[in-house]
Symmetry: none
Subunit: 190 residues, 4 copies
DNA sequence: TATGAATGAGTCTTCATTCAT
DNA sequence: GATGAATGAAGACTCATTCAT
């Protein structure tokens, strides 16, 4: 793919996220998507096979961007709690600054567009988080239970916190990081 | 003359919840809804003005049923923690046994069908929960912060726990109540 | 038919004329008609076989009422011009006071509801007018040409005059009679 | 890319006039319209926003075509009567040759599709006729009265004459022009 | 006989996808 | 490859007519 195309691809992704935010997932029309991305409707089909394929691709892009954002090279001496705290806060940050992407991914997950394969693929991106939780459980720091379940809870707390903030029109600010970590920490560690 | 039928109304509500679960909110067709409810398509319009009105009505029904389920007359000597625990467990129970209703409400909340008015109306049903949280904050038991925010977090934890359970095909069992209360308790009390 | 039914029949006719005036012929719903007439929708079908039958019946009623209004026993010595003038003025009067009925009949005539038979039946009501025109032509007073054609022209002039008046919101007043007769007289006599 | 086509637009207009003639205004189905015009149903909506918009556009087209047909550059020395006669005869001609268009416009005028704005727009096309009538009144040639009213009468006489002819299955022939002008002349001049 | 809820065929309109240019 | 007009299969909604009460 040439650079020019890369540009358009990004324009399509951005348009998808924006429109989902404005009108919900069901409200997205291919024609609107194209207009917003600055291309012709028909051109969408040179990039994606169909609408489902487009949405799943956007989803993949969003997920991998998020995973890349969360990964971090820690130093040898960083404690697990330190690493967890850093990761959670970073996640809060990501959700706050990319709420459009998060909303999109959440809506897509529950929609008829989602497939089993795509769902599994998503999990793979976040394997390192699972590893972290398991490590915590082995050392006795994190409460027992299915690590995936705890991750799920963690995820939902972060989203609930940021959502609440933004839903009420308050801008995203860094101090939510601290509050959220406080709650997540208690929830995980008990 | 045939009388408008409470029975049929319930059939419509049930059909809506079932179909939403199977195909998502966007996948609901009025014709399918009617078929599932055992009536003619046109008949839906003797009960509801249009599709939006139908969905919001189902939502209202679901919410008020849930609120009724959660309310409980406590005895004078019940401590706040006892009352909280009882309420949370009951909520877990409700979510577990009515996950179709819960999924429907969650999807509708994010959909273009939702209106500001209907959204506000929903909150009113759960005022008593807010009161409980505030009481806990005044006595120093519950961590500080916007009570609505904490409620939101509580809600999302419960749903995350049950969702996870059911998503993995495991049946809903009472022991999730205990685990969930453990996490919620930690999250709220810190 | 009993008196009570006669009442309802009139109510239906009145409702039909009113609604046609308000919403046009195509905008008439059987349910609205019934509501306006103060009866149940289903009851319409005990009076008329179907919608077309109802509309044609109303038309028949309107036409015969008009014909009855126009007929007049003239004295032996009344000249043809006197009789013509009297009839035209009376027609102006009728159109002015029953514009709803006139509009209804005009719309129905052009609609898919009209049948050949009903159309012919209408003409019969006004045979006496044709006779009058023919008499005038034989005496050389009225210009030559197909009598039916002249009647048609006369009819359209009267309606045009009254329509214009009412369309512009001016109330119907008797002086339109004089103006209209002036024009019709010139048109017929040349 | 295919370009929006003047040709197709004309096909749609023609189809609309034809179908209105065959089935009345209320009997027009978008699907039939498309079939008759030789395009797909959905394509109608690339040319017109909705059914009302389509009908009003056809009306606009019909009206302006008629107005264009009636306008004529007269010579300095042409008397008013000559100009009137020429215009009326031309109008007879137009009505005779475009009775479908005339019927359509008449039906639309009385239908729920008509709007106040579209109605006013129509009048503007025929301002030059009003001017002619007023000029005749000032010179004492045409009888007194609201010019618009006289125009209305003139219009209705012409339509009545042609309608009668065609309704009885007789072909349109030029000699109707003479007969109609005779009547209109008498009616206007008195 | 009166009622008005129920029916379902019929209509307008939308929109993912195709395709001529 | 890009364009956006064209397509036609849905889907929401209407309303004349039927029918259980």
């Amino acid at each position: 793919m040439r650079l020019k195309d890369e540009h358009k691809l990004n324009a399509i992704i951005r348009a998808t996220l924006e429109l989902t935010n404005e009108k919900g997932l069901a409200g997205i029309r291919m024609s609107d998507l194209a207009k917003r991305a600055g291309i012709a409707t028909g051109s969408l089909y040179t990039y994606f096979e169909d609408k489902q394929n487009l949405l799943l691709s956007v989803n993949r892009s969003v997920r991998s961007t998020a995973a890349r954002y969360l990964r971090h090279q820690f130093r040898e001496e960083d404690t697990l709690e330190h690493r967890l705290e850093h990761t959670v806060k970073r996640y809060v940050d990501y959700v706050g600054e990319h709420r459009e992407a998060i909303l999109f991914a959440d809506l897509l997950k529950r929609s008829p567009y989602m497939t089993e394969a795509a769902s599994q693929e998503t999990m793979d991106h976040f394997q390192f988080l699972l590893d972290m939780v398991e490590e915590g459980q082995q050392s006795g720091m994190i409460r027992t239970g299915d690590p995936e379940e705890l991750l799920h809870v963690m995820d939902s707390i972060v989203k609930a916190m940021v959502d609440f903030q933004l839903f009420h029109g308050r801008p995203y600010t860094k101090n939510i990081q601290q509050r959220t970590w406080g709650i997540v920490r208690s929830a995980l560690i008990g």
